[in-house]
């Protein structure tokens, strides 16, 4: 898939290892747009290469937590206006990696770059999507092109029916634990198999989002009927899926049978420090449900099915951040938010804040947090002397109930 998409974007036949100059189909930048706009001006051009191919959401610290964030947001709004960028999502929309697919910007076969390391999320819809830095994004804004090394591809086949309360998050944590944090560094990772076929686009997004945590340049799932259905009503544009050939070559093939998988958890302070939830004995002070990894309606519903009619532990703060306003509205309409709030959850507006220690929900020294997010590095949630565990929405919800890290099976 990677070779096909990069070949199409660079208008040539490509092999892994080739360096190509590729035309970008879509570029995404969030709060770092302020810094990017300054670098863009240093390069020289008056206008961005194509304002219709740039999407800018404000999501990392929304609404602004203080004056410096507010000034940053102001620069972004001015840049958007000056450059006539029509696809701008101010603080009311949600997290970039949820908003772009929802609003129909992500289409199969596209080459997408984003100035965010979890950009591979868009691969769930059959796109090649890679994270880049600020300077590079300024160059893309100026030229619409980027040099890329064509990555070797890995194929991860996931088969078997998942046991109850075990989800896509447990699968990807299990895979990262085995392959390690650099197990797919520079590689394009394709996920397939009957388990992936049954997954919603949301489940596929979990896999692709966290492929970044094993170093992948892109994580992808082939286009199928589920993709087509998801895109209906979200985009009227034509698109050209580029799935792999039947006889495609992969540098590495991994098979994972998930029929007997138990709930997984990443322990402090690396994402590949993975074990079974039942092996961990720790009290928690905060539980975070949401983020670009697990903040979709199905995740909130899973948590609500556990918390409905119950009360979370008095010693726990449960923060819920729906990934987007669309998710929040659906959750409101279906009564999910009522169930969560009644159980003791604190609902935050859709934004990234706590996940990177930027806004709300910071931890204190000595505190322990369980989160449905994707990264648990030391200091990630604003305090270097706090511990962060990563797990599925079900594990987060059950742990909020008991006040300690708890296996969700049987609940």
């Amino acid at each position: 898939m990677a070779e096909k998409i990069l070949g199409r974007a660079s208008n040539q036949e490509v092999q892994p290892g080739d360096i190509v100059d590729a035309s970008v189909d879509l570029a995404m930048s969030h709060e770092n747009t302020a810094a990017i706009s300054k670098k863009f001006k240093q390069i020289g051009p008056k206008k961005v290469w194509d304002p219709s191919k740039i999407v800018i959401p404000i999501d990392h610290c929304a609404p602004a937590a203080n004056e410096s964030y507010a000034a940053n947001h102001k620069i972004i709004r001015e840049f958007v206006k000056e450059q006539h960028i029509s696809h701008f999502y101010d603080i009311k929309a949600g997290i970039c990696h949820q908003v772009l697919p929802e609003k129909g910007h992500v289409k199969p076969g596209m080459l997408i770059v984003g100035s965010d390391s979890h950009t591979p999320t868009y691969g769930a819809l059959g796109a090649f999507a890679a994270g880049i830095g600020r300077t590079e994004m300024a160059a893309v804004y100026a030229t619409g092109t980027i040099w890329l090394r064509v990555p070797e591809s890995y194929l991860i086949t996931i088969t078997g029916q998942l046991p109850a309360r075990v989800s896509a998050k447990d699968i990807i944590l299990h895979i990262i634990g085995n392959m390690r944090a650099d197990g797919a560094n520079y590689k394009a990772v394709e996920f397939c198999g009957d388990t992936v076929d049954t997954f919603s686009i949301g489940g596929r997004m979990v896999l692709c989002n966290m492929s970044a945590e094993m170093g992948a340049k892109a994580g992808m799932v082939a286009f199928d009927e589920k993709t087509k259905t998801y895109l209906q009503g979200r985009t009227h544009d034509r698109y050209g899926p580029l799935n792999a050939d039947q006889d495609a070559h992969y540098e590495k093939e991994v098979h994972v049978d998930v029929s007997d998988l138990v709930p997984q958890i990443a322990c402090p302070h690396t994402v590949d420090n993975v074990t079974a939830v039942s092996d961990v004995d720790s009290e928690i002070h905060q539980a975070v449900l949401g983020t670009c990894t697990n903040g979709r309606l199905e995740d909130l519903k899973e948590a609500a099915s556990i918390l409905k009619g119950k009360k979370i532990s008095d010693s726990v703060r449960l923060l819920v951040l729906p990934a987007s306003t669309e998710v929040l509205l659906e959750a409101l309409q279906e009564g999910v938010i009522t169930e969560l709030v009644t159980a003791g959850a604190t609902i935050l507006n859709p934004n990234c804040g706590p996940c990177l220690g930027a806004h709300e929900g910071a931890l204190a020294p000595g505190e322990v947090c369980i989160s449905s997010s994707n990264r648990n590095f030391r200091g990630r949630m604003g305090c270097k002397d706090a511990d962060i565990y990563l797990a599925s929405p079900a594990t987060v919800a059950v742990s909020a109930l008991t006040g300690k890290i708890t296996d969700p099976r049987g609940v």
């Binding site: 302020a34 990392h60 610290c61 830095g133 300077t135 590079e136 944090a181 170093g215 220690g357 270097k384």
Partner: protein, 164 residues
């Protein structure tokens, strides 16, 4: 170029190089430098001198795409980063910021404080303290050009100004 070694291990991530809490509150590179490696080596900013070199294990710079994790080290005085491997976004950010990233298969023979001399063009590394020499694959010419121009912004400025 010559410098002293700051030695670190595997998987040095962007959160310990430059904490996320500062990503949108600090925009001045000099101020970024004051927080470099804050959560890994609190003494780094006190000890680092212009020209010093980071030598690390595998997967240096994993995590976020935040470029400040490169900017803060460059601004603090770091002239080269040698590691057994780099996370891919970090590697590109180094090139685009004009800070050469060199890949050496085994960095275990280097110690904190070693004096080393590097020729980035040829890939020759001499550990003056231990007397040992090493050769790494030099960076491709088009990457070297970006680095010699001082990073992607000055490079593009140069390229675009030459276009008709």
């Amino acid at each position: 170029m010559k410098g002293r070694v700051f030695k670190y291990g595997d998987d040095v991530n962007t959160d310990v190089i430059f904490p996320g809490k500062y990503t949108y509150t600090i925009s001045d590179p000099k101020e970024m430098a004051q927080h470099a490696l804050e959560d890994l080596d609190p003494d780094f900013t006190k000890k680092v001198k212009k020209g010093d070199i980071i030598v690390a294990g595998k997967y240096f710079g994993c995590g976020s795409s935040r470029e400040q994790a490169v900017t803060c080290l460059k601004e603090a005085g770091i002239s080269v980063i040698i590691a057994q491997s780099f996370a891919r976004i970090y590697y590109r950010n180094c090139i685009n910021s004009g800070l050469p990233p060199l890949v050496l298969d085994d960095t275990s023979e280097f110690s904190d404080g070693d004096e080393i001399a590097i020729d980035v063009e040829t890939g020759k590394i001499e550990n003056v303290t231990s007397g040992k020499t090493y050769t790494v694959t030099p960076l491709p010419p088009f990457v070297m050009e970006i680095i010699s121009d001082g990073g992607l912004i000055p490079h593009l400025k140069k390229v675009l100004s030459h276009e008709p």
